[in-house]
Amino acid sequence: MREVYVVGIGITSFSRLEYPLVEIAGYPAMMALKDAGLSSVDHVYVANMGAGRLNKQTGLASAVVDHLALTPAGAEAIENGPASGASAIKQGYMAVASGLHDTVLVTGAERMRAANSLETTDFVATLTHPLAEYIYGVTLPSLAGMFTRLYMDKYGVTSRHLSMVAVKAHANAMLNPFAHLHELITMDGIEDGPDAGTNNPMVADPLRFYDCCPVSDGGACLILATGEVAKKLKKPMVRLAGVGQATDTHAVHERKDPTEVTAVRLAAQQAFGMAGFKPSQVDVAELHDAFTILEIVESEEAGFFKKGEGHKALEKGLTKIGGQIPINTSGGLKAKGHPVGATGVGQAHEIVLQLRGEAGARQVKGAKRGFTCNFGGFGNNVVCLAFQREG
């Protein structure tokens, strides 16, 4: 297999965007082409989950490739729920590594706020098992709520720990001009103070409002290429060094131990195995914190901390910028936002920015190795990526 490098990146603000989905996919792609210094690519992947239902548009890849004047390059859309983004990057990796293509553009885009919130809640809930979960009113927040209750009981995680994740995410997002939420929150405001109950009401107990990510529009793009192409383009050399993916039972209740997210562990092990480095050597990571509990759990399953100790590491500040392993420097899904199909590309964008040394006020000094975890469904389809700066 050939080695694969990231040669161009681009992103939109994650927020409410008042322009068509094809432009949400197109704008970051235009920026990434400019960043790379390329005017054409061999192939295009578009990561998206909701176009057919929320935006009444199918065949999105054909629309995007034309919008970018990249025809006649081949183009496909990749739908893998909230893990669509990293899945599309994985497809791009395979295309370049295999020798099929030399340059591949991967753009993720979602326009969720075009629909009302009842419709969006139902749309995301269609990820759950149709007969064993969905019909009961099961949504992603409810699965996360039931999971959190078990996790608290087993490992001593408390609401305070969850709020610490949210406070850290919002603080990091203040340093990211593209983040959805620019709202500084405090432990006093959402946990300890007299107004905390009003500010932070229950959503799916024990999860509260500030434990859940916002509904965002947004797009992000990565251009992948061979080492030969990358050297000519003269951007900092960031290699996509490892990809991993694993699945789990569709219905959450069927898992042997419902407090384990086995697919994260397996996908991370694959990505690290391929990259040839260990979790302890990672300088910066983006984890899929659609709910605050997930940052804690994924930090354990990915191998940064022992099982049941993620919340203790958080308490010690090890996951802050300047800590041992800064997590979600972008603000994470919690505060940067979660345009579902685009999220995995957005995570990779942040890691590449960090490894290039271009992350500005939130830069992790000297970051050389990065990791992303993109979590689909409620842990039933997980894609992890490992990146390494060279030279």
């Binding site: 064993a132 009961y136 009113g137 709520g145 799916a204 999860l207």
Partner: protein, 110 residues
């Protein structure tokens, strides 16, 4: 009315929900068996943002381990549920949309 599990004719594992191949041994023949009514509430959540088909402000959902060890997800009608408590199900309409009624398990304290 009953909700059925799908017992593998080869290894005896009860698959719920059903699947094309047995989750334990990959066999493809099953015998439908009614799921027991009684079980233990493993976890739950009180949900206050519901999809459009539900016209109630809040609803409790839970995962229950039934007396034969099979786990299921269902609605919970218990004012103050506790992890580990004994529960019992009835099968009733759990969701309605424009065209259909869907039947499923609702758990109450035993």
């Amino acid at each position: 009315m009953e909700i059925y599990g799908y017992q593998c004719s080869k290894c005896g594992h009860i698959n719920y929900p059903n699947r094309t191949l047995c989750g334990k041994c990959k066999n493809n023949a099953f015998v439908p068996v009614p799921l027991p009514k009684a079980g233990k509430l493993l976890t739950f959540t009180r949900l206050s943002t519901l999809p459009g088909d539900f016209d109630v402000p809040e609803m409790t959902l839970g995962i229950v381990e039934l007396s034969n060890g099979v786990r299921v997800t269902g609605q919970v009608e218990i004012p103050k549920p506790k992890m580990g408590m004994a529960v019992e199900s009835t099968v009733q309409v759990v969701r309605k949309d424009e065209y259909n009624k869907y039947y499923g398990m609702v758990f109450r304290a035993k």
